[in-house]
């Protein structure tokens, strides 16, 4: 790790101000990605603005079927939240599948979606839930937020403060873990609500997380595990790397979609 300066922000405004003062600075949440990258000398921010002590970023609040999760909420808290489980158990289950206990107690939902790793779990859920990403300056629909591999709609210095969504009637997540990293080799989140069905796919897309419209339509017509079997998943749209070929990922997308529907019930 290169030398860096540490700042502890006390509020959202404080953090944004500090970030504005340091062009080469970075927000630090759980550090599960950022610190590791710095240790490998692949990132060298001059300043770290620690968000973990900002009260406004913490916690889950639920109002009817309206869910709001603060950006600083660690995965473990999402996984074990009874209130959230009552309205959207699929998201609790997803959070419980991320990494290992250490990672789940440090890593945050804000850090995960801001990072937009193409194999991260949360982005699939955000898309499928039609979530809105709340930042220090605006509200961004998930559909607009995830732009590409490790790329989001966030502007320089813009900070995620929370995500919000309306709990769907039914939702399910199925993940096939990369045997080495245990990130998603393919993960599919399905959600059914009055507005229709949305399907978010992570780990598989050549351009990162995406929605599968064909499956959405098929499940919209008939919400059943086998409905996805006929959907067209083109290997040309899939990521291919040393862990999995595009053809294998295309297969996993269908299998995980089916299992996500089964999980959703």
């Amino acid at each position: 790790m290169y030398e860096t300066s540490y700042h502890r922000a006390s509020s959202v405004e404080d953090a944004v101000k500090l970030r504005g003062e340091h062009e080469e600075g970075r927000y630090l949440a759980g550090g599960m990605t950022l610190i590791a990258t710095m240790k490998q000398r692949l990132a060298a921010p001059t300043d770290l603005i620690d968000l973990r002590h900002i009260p406004d970023l913490a916690g889950i609040s639920i109002d009817g079927r309206n869910v709001r999760i603060g950006a600083g909420t660690p995965h473990a808290e999402v996984a074990k939240s009874d209130e959230l489980r009552a309205v959207c158990p699929a998201l609790c289950n997803l959070a419980g599948m991320i990494g290992d206990p250490h990672v789940r107690h440090m890593g945050t939902i804000g850090g995960s979606i801001a990072n937009n790793d193409p194999a991260a779990d949360y982005p699939a859920a955000m898309l499928a839930l039609g979530a809105t990403i709340i930042t220090d300056r605006r509200w961004i629909a998930a559909d607009e937020f995830f732009v590409g591999l490790f790329e989001t709609a966030l502007e320089e210095g813009e900070m995620v403060t929370a995500v919000t969504f309306e709990a769907p009637e039914k939702a399910g997540y199925a993940k096939f873990a990369n045997p080495a990293s245990r990130y998603a080799l393919t993960g599919v989140f399905v959600a059914k609500s009055a507005d229709g069905v949305r399907v978010g796919v992570t780990g598989a897309g050549a351009n990162g997380v995406f929605r599968h419209k064909g499956m959405e339509e098929a499940l919209g017509v008939n919400w059943a595990p086998d409905s996805v079997a006929g959907a067209d998943v083109d290997p040309k749209d899939m990521l291919s790397d040393m862990h999995a070929s595009a053809a294998y990922r295309a297969n996993l997308v269908k299998v995980m979609a089916k299992r996500a529907v089964i999980a959703a019930g």
Partner: protein, 782 residues
């Protein structure tokens, strides 16, 4: 056996220290004035070094010096060597290319060391290492053995045209060809043994200390064999003569073979300490470990196995190409030859065997022994082949094996080994019973109804531990003897120190060696201390690898104990005015048999040291040394059965049952032996399902340089193991023990691949059988 003697399940004495974080590892060592090293490493797989400019790095904060290979060479430090000479079948010696501790003209793998930076802190050293400007001229690279042998392939060493190190054979080629020509059935198969990274929990580290006043060096290092390290560094690298070099391997957190070898870093840190006048410490990080620790396996073989009409194996022919990486590591030449081809008879009576082995250079990190070293490669090859044959012949794999078992001992194989004892039938029967082999078809049908494909696979392994005797290995090319030493030092108060030349880095010597003493003398294991890992304390020894500590190391302790006991009996007889031949040692006392006369052990020890009343002419003291050179290898063997369920939609394999029935001969501590088997199985299952080192074939970059990409087995990848133990005591050593450290890693991969191929009905599957590969194999069945 007594509560703490041989056969007792005592918990490990050393665990308190390890489990409470109180172990003392090389990186924990600090000495006054100590500085930190970072190596400048090649980012290219193959390149010429045009120039090294360290002027900017030297100006950086905290930097003491930057040293390169030209300076090292000018100071007369020698090249790294391979200590086992192999001759090609045309009689020519193996072609060893120069391996300089710091590269001078050419770098040959990503991670090859080019220079060392010494600075006040590690971070300063690392910053400065990045500032060392090395001008390279990149050259084409080759990472796979077969590609390296092709015409026009990039050439690594001028000494080795065609990258060929040796072309060696063992056995009778004519007889094997005849057997194949006249066979009723021939099974042919191509076998790939995947390349592995050893991944000990503690990465390598070293601390080099030069004392100018005494002109003396001390080397702390993560070594499995500190005496061999000292010998090699003195005799070949000209670091210092042995009396001027102390090597200490303190607590070492796992080795699996990778810490046998002498690496550039130890040599360079010692030399750098003299050059800079400060002690120099280097600790590898995990990425460096992936890049520079010697890898294991990496074989490609073609196999033909011949059968007669009665399904007896009449011949075996094997053609193997082994990738040895960019340089020949210390024992790299022995692994694919005498540790491999000599095991190709397996548990079977095969009248004619021939193996041809070609080893080649590639632009990858050197390959050497890794848990099992050659025997996993032999076992995987044989056990995949015989299982395939059973499928082709339409007979039960168990029956085909049984029909061909060696059943009387000693048995001379056509490939050097003389098996001294074994009972393969008993292990197979135990394993099949434990696995409920007979009930498999019902379980398969049940799995089918749940949409799963269930398969069962067997592997009957034999391996050879405690490489020996020294004269025999010497005649095969070994540069060292493979005996072991022990000193048993009884203190005046009766407590005991055992100094062993073997080395514990996870095996539990401090407990098992003490149990042996407890068994013999009837004292508690708490009164026995095991000393190892320091060339200034312990007499010359050969270290720990090849599951030799018990069979060879403890046998040396037995010999030393024999001498101690003989002297103690003389003293006791004198004290009790009895005949020496009437004295027995029991429960910490020396007794005159058949009487109530006794003298406690500690009083005999005290008498030996006060020397007030010793038998006439006897020297004072109670301390004896012994060297033990075994008469033969030992031959652990067993039968493993894996049962798996494959999810046809994803290709994911679940191990639903794993049975291991092992014959390790006599057992000192079942708890430790089971732990060794568990660990070995985890590594074997890792090889079969998860692990593979991969290089980019074009650029030679290591693609699996972290745990994000290299899949290590985790607890939830493993089932609960069903273990059992059969015992044919080893007749070749006084304790009747065979060795258990590697069996799990040797026997398990073929059992698993046999099970998975049985489940999916497609025999072409290579390790690691990742979900994707299994899924692909299933697609080609449909």
């Amino acid at each position: 056996m007594g509560v703490e003697g041989i056969g007792a399940r005592v918990t490990r004495k050393e665990d308190k220290r390890f489990l409470t974080g109180k172990g003392r590892y090389t990186d924990d060592m600090t000495v006054p004035g100590m500085k930190y090293a970072c190596f400048v490493r090649s980012p290219y797989a193959h390149a010429k070094i045009i120039g090294i400019d360290a002027s900017a790095a030297r100006q950086m904060p905290g930097v003491i010096d930057v040293l390169d290979g030209k300076q090292l060479q000018a100071d007369g430090i020698g090249n790294l060597i391979c200590g086992w000479m192999i001759h090609s079948k045309d009689g020519s010696p193996m072609k060893m290319g120069a391996w300089r501790p710091l590269a001078v003209d050419t770098v040959r793998y990503v991670g090859d060391a080019v220079a060392i930076v010494v600075a006040d802190s590690y971070l300063e050293a690392r910053d400065a290492a990045e500032a060392v400007s090395v001008e390279y001229e990149e050259m084409p690279a080759v990472t796979e053995a077969i590609a390296a042998m092709a015409d026009g392939a990039p050439q690594l060493h001028p000494e080795a045209p065609g990258n060929l190190i040796f072309d060696w054979e063992l056995g009778d080629g004519v007889a094997a060809d005849q057997a194949i020509a006249s066979a009723v059935h021939v099974t042919e198969i191509e076998i790939h043994n995947n390349r592995l990274s050893p991944n000990p929990m503690e990465p390598r580290a070293t601390l080099g200390i030069y004392d100018a006043a005494e002109d003396h060096y001390t080397c702390y290092t993560t070594s499995q064999n500190p005496h061999v390290a000292r010998l090699v560094m003195s005799a070949f690298y000209n670091v210092a003569p042995e009396n001027k070099l102390r090597v200490i391997a303190p607590d070492v957190g796992g080795g699996f073979g990778s810490k046998i070898y002498i690496y550039p870093e130890e040599i360079v840190c010692l030399w750098a300490s003299k050059k800079t006048g400060v002690p120099v410490k280097w600790t590898s990080d995990r990425t460096e470990a992936f890049l520079t620790d010697a890898h294991g396996r990496d074989h490609v073989s073609k196999v033909k196995m011949a059968f007669d009409s009665d399904h007896r194996i009449t011949g075996l022919k094997v053609d193997t190409i082994a990738n040895l990486g960019a340089y020949m590591s210390l024992f790299s030449s022995a692994v694919p030859t005498y540790l491999y081809a000599t095991l190709l008879s397996g548990q079977y009576a095969i009248p004619a065997i021939h193996a041809n082995v070609r080893t080649v250079y590639t632009n990858t990190v050197p390959v050497d022994a890794y848990r099992g070293a050659g025997r996993p490669e032999a076992t995987y090859l044989l056990e995949r082949t015989i299982e395939t044959a059973a499928r082709e012949l339409g007979v039960s794999p168990a029956e085909l094996r049984r029909k061909n078992f060696i059943r009387s001992f000693p048995y001379q194989t056509p490939v050097i080994m003389n098996y001294d004892a074994g009972d393969y039938e008993t292990s197979v029967a135990a394993a099949m019973e434990a696995a409920d082999w007979a009930g498999f078809s019902a379980r398969r049908a049940d799995a089918e109804s749940r949409g799963k494909k269930r398969g069962i696979g067997m592997s009957c392994y034999i391996e050879a531990c405690g490489i020996a005797p020294s004269a025999a290995v010497g005649s095969l090319g070994a540069g060292v003897g493979l005996w072991e030493s022990a000193e048993v030092r009884v203190n005046a108060v009766g407590t005991i120190e055992v100094l062993t030349g073997s080395h514990s880095h996870g095996q539990g010597h401090e407990t098992t060696f003490a149990q042996l003493v407890a068994e013999r003398l009837g004292v508690s294991i708490d009164s026995v201390n095991i000393v190892h890992g320091d060339t200034d304390k312990v007499q010359m020894g050969m270290g720990t690898y090849g599951s030799r500590s018990g069979a060879v190391g403890m046998s040396a302790v037995v010999k030393a104990l024999d001498k101690v006991e003989a002297k103690a009996k003389k003293i006791a007889a004198h004290m009790m005015e009895a005949d020496e031949s009437d004295i027995v040692i029991e429960n910490g006392e020396l007794k005159v048999a058949g009487t109530d006369k006794t003298v406690p052990w500690f009083q005999v020890a005290l008498a030996a040291y006060t020397a007030h009343n010793l038998p006439g002419g006897m020297e004072p003291g109670l301390k004896e040394t012994a060297f033990y050179d075994p008469a033969n290898f030992t031959f652990p063997a067993g039968c493993y059965i894996a049962e798996v369920e494959v999810d046809p939609e994803t290709g994911k394999t679940d191990i639903v049952q794993f049975v291991a029935a092992d014959d390790f001969g006599n057992i000192i501590n079942p708890l430790i032996v089971e732990g060794q088997v568990h660990g070995g199985l985890a590594q074997g299952i890792g090889q079969a399902l998860l692990e593979e080192v991969r290089y980019d074939p074009e650029s030679g970059q290591l693609l699996t340089a972290s745990y994000m990409d290299y899949a290590m087995p985790r607890a939830d990848d493993l089932p609960s193991f069903k273990l059992s133990h059969q015992n044919t005591p080893c007749p070749s050593n006084p304790l009747g023990i065979k060795g258990c450290g590697e069996a799990g890693a040797i026997g398990s991969p073929p059992a698993l691949i046999n099970a998975i191929t049985d489940a999916i009905g497609n025999n072409s599957l290579t390790m690691p059988a990742t979900p994707m590969k299994v899924w692909q194999a299933l697609q080609s069945v449909h």
